[in-house]
């Protein structure tokens, strides 16, 4: 067993990790926005908005990720008429896939907020969107954090599947090194370790966020004491 293969290839793998992180970050950002909109659409009273959103979520959730990746990679160029970058294609596939799961998380999160909160907000003259933005979503997000992070962690790991369409991310580069040097054990153990460390860090961070938000809501925060003015003291001491 030799670790030379790792130390020699650190810069090469580092480039791959950067691509992986970029892929994950962009996909997470986009799928969060799209997923939130889909989740709200699923709660819409209007069938014209609700039914397409529900269909989308059901179809995507019933399809393996690798099929979504292939579908985007091979079909979109035919539809658009020109080829697209593997990286762009991967981002699109991950966004489509993850947003369906996030939609479900958002829907459940919004549903878990008592209806009285919406009623109070609407009754005070806020519009539906204002009620969502200031009252419902801030509370729902606290409850959505654990499942959302779970989803993001799984997306981060799933980015390794992008190797199949030729995105030069971490897994793809690990495979290339292995093909060249035949040190499977060292290479893949090290790569797995990188995924693990990052996922673990994300999950710890989520725990911290969750705790901090809960403290802000319920823990007794010190109520500031009224300040004693210098003049008050003077008035007392003056005979």
């Amino acid at each position: 067993m030799s670790f030379d293969v790792i130390t020699n290839n650190i810069p090469y793998l580092w480039e791959g990790l950067k691509t992986t992180l970029k892929l994950a970050a962009i996909s997470i950002g986009l799928s969060f926005v799209l997923g939130t909109l889909l989740g709200m659409a699923k709660l819409s009273k209007r069938a014209l908005i609700r039914i397409p959103a529900t269909l989308y979520v059901e179809i995507v959730r019933g399809t393996p990720l690798i099929m979504v990746i292939f579908w985007v990679f091979f079909l979109i160029p035919i539809l658009v008429g020109h080829s697209i970058q593997p990286f762009t294609s991967a981002v699109a596939a991950f966004t489509i896939f993850t947003s369906a799961y996030i939609a479900e998380i958002v829907r459940a999160g919004i549903n878990s907020i008592p209806v009285g909160q919406t009623e109070a907000a609407l009754a005070s003259g806020l519009t539906y969107w204002q009620a969502m933005r200031y009252i419902i979503l801030p509370q729902a997000i606290t409850r959505m954090i654990p499942p959302l992070v779970g989803q993001f962690i799984s997306l981060f790991k799933d980015t390794s599947l992008a190797y199949i369409i030729g995105v030069l991310e971490l897994t793809r580069r690990a495979t290339i090194i292995n093909n060249r040097e035949f040190k499977s054990f060292e290479i893949f153990t090290f790569t797995a370790l990188i995924y693990f460390v990052l996922c673990y860090a994300m999950s710890r961070f989520a725990k911290y966020l969750e705790k901090r938000r809960r403290v802000g809501e319920t823990k007794n925060e010190k109520i500031p004491e009224p300040e004693i003015m210098a003049g008050d003291i003077g008035a007392q001491t003056t005979p």
Partner: protein
């Protein structure tokens, strides 16, 4: 329950609450308690009442001017359940109207129709000149003129008391933060808890939370205040502090529609009482009429059960 005597029994002659210390006798005909002294003075032909005497027939107050809320043949169904049946009612500016009735009688639904938290299926409903029953009407600006207080307070748990109160003035009225906070602090003073401005709702008692909710409703300077069973979720010892705030509000001339089970409040504060049962307004009248001489059999039965 220390307040029971005072909140439930009102002397029909002087209309003051009867306390434990007062000397009382009961009417030989109807069994209603009253102050012995008042009865004696009444029998002697002296006038002791400042407010109008007990009327023989229902004579609802008919103030001049246009009604601010007007139900015209309003009907509502929940699925097949007919919850509001042909409701006709007019509420005038400055009036305090108390709606009472057994649970499931439609009183909360009637209240919630006023700011369209519930939509109606038939009839017309006008509030502050707007036709609420018109589905094309944008309800948001109308709601800004109507404050609402809920049974379960519905304060925003992720915001401080101050933020709860200033949110709507800032976002709907586009007030500056300083201006909104000034109003909020003034209102907190009024409801008696200025020191809780920076607390979170979970740090307050039920009574304090409900007073914050009232302040939140008032922060928009509404023309109408709706109260949906504001004391039903409170511990008995906290009911009074909330009712006191509501009484003060009524004295200031706020138009109030109150769904409640607090008969003492209804008797003392209401200009008119509506009694609902089975989606119908069974009886309406002044509190004196209502509690002393109800006409409908259903009303008598209800009052016997709760008093």
């Amino acid at each position: 329950m220390p307040n029971q005597e005072t909140s439930n029994k009102i002397c029909p002659y002087c209309l003051e609450p009867i306390t434990r210390e007062d000397e009382i006798t009961y009417c030989s005909k109807c069994g209603v308690p009253h102050h012995t002294e008042c009865w004696r003075q009444k029998s002697a032909g002296l006038t002791v009442v400042e407010k109008p005497k007990i009327p023989e027939t229902p004579t609802p107050k008919k103030p001049s001017g246009e009604p601010i809320i007007s139900f015209q043949g309003v009907n509502k169904w929940f699925g097949k359940l007919h919850v509001l049946k042909d409701i006709n009612e007019e509420i005038y500016p400055g009036e305090v109207v108390v709606i009472i009735g057994p649970s499931g009688s439609g009183k909360s639904t009637m209240l919630r129709c006023i700011n369209r938290l519930e939509t109606i299926q038939k009839g017309k409903l006008f509030v502050d000149g707007y036709e609420i029953s018109n589905p094309k009407l944008n309800i948001t600006p109308v709601r800004a003129e109507i404050g609402m207080v809920f049974q379960h307070f519905n304060l925003y748990p992720h915001m401080t008391v101050l933020e709860n109160i200033t949110l709507a003035p800032r976002k709907v009225r586009k007030m500056s933060e300083a201006e909104a906070e000034e109003i909020a602090l003034e209102l907190l003073e009024k409801v008696g808890i200025p020191e809780k401005a920076h607390a979170y709702p979970s740090q307050l008692s039920g009574g304090q939370q409900q007073r914050v909710a009232i302040a939140r409703g008032l922060a928009m300077r509404p023309k109408i205040m709706l109260f949906d069973e504001p004391t039903s979720a409170l511990d008995p010892e906290m009911i009074k502090e909330v009712l006191d705030v509501m009484k003060a509000l009524a004295r200031e001339g706020m138009t109030m529609v109150v769904v409640t089970h607090e008969m003492g409040f209804a008797r003392e504060v209401a200009d008119r009482v509506l009694f609902m049962d089975g989606g119908v307004i069974v009886e309406r009248g002044t509190p004196e009429h209502f509690f002393v001489n109800p006409v409908e059999e259903r009303t008598k039965l209800f009052l016997r059960q709760i008093l």
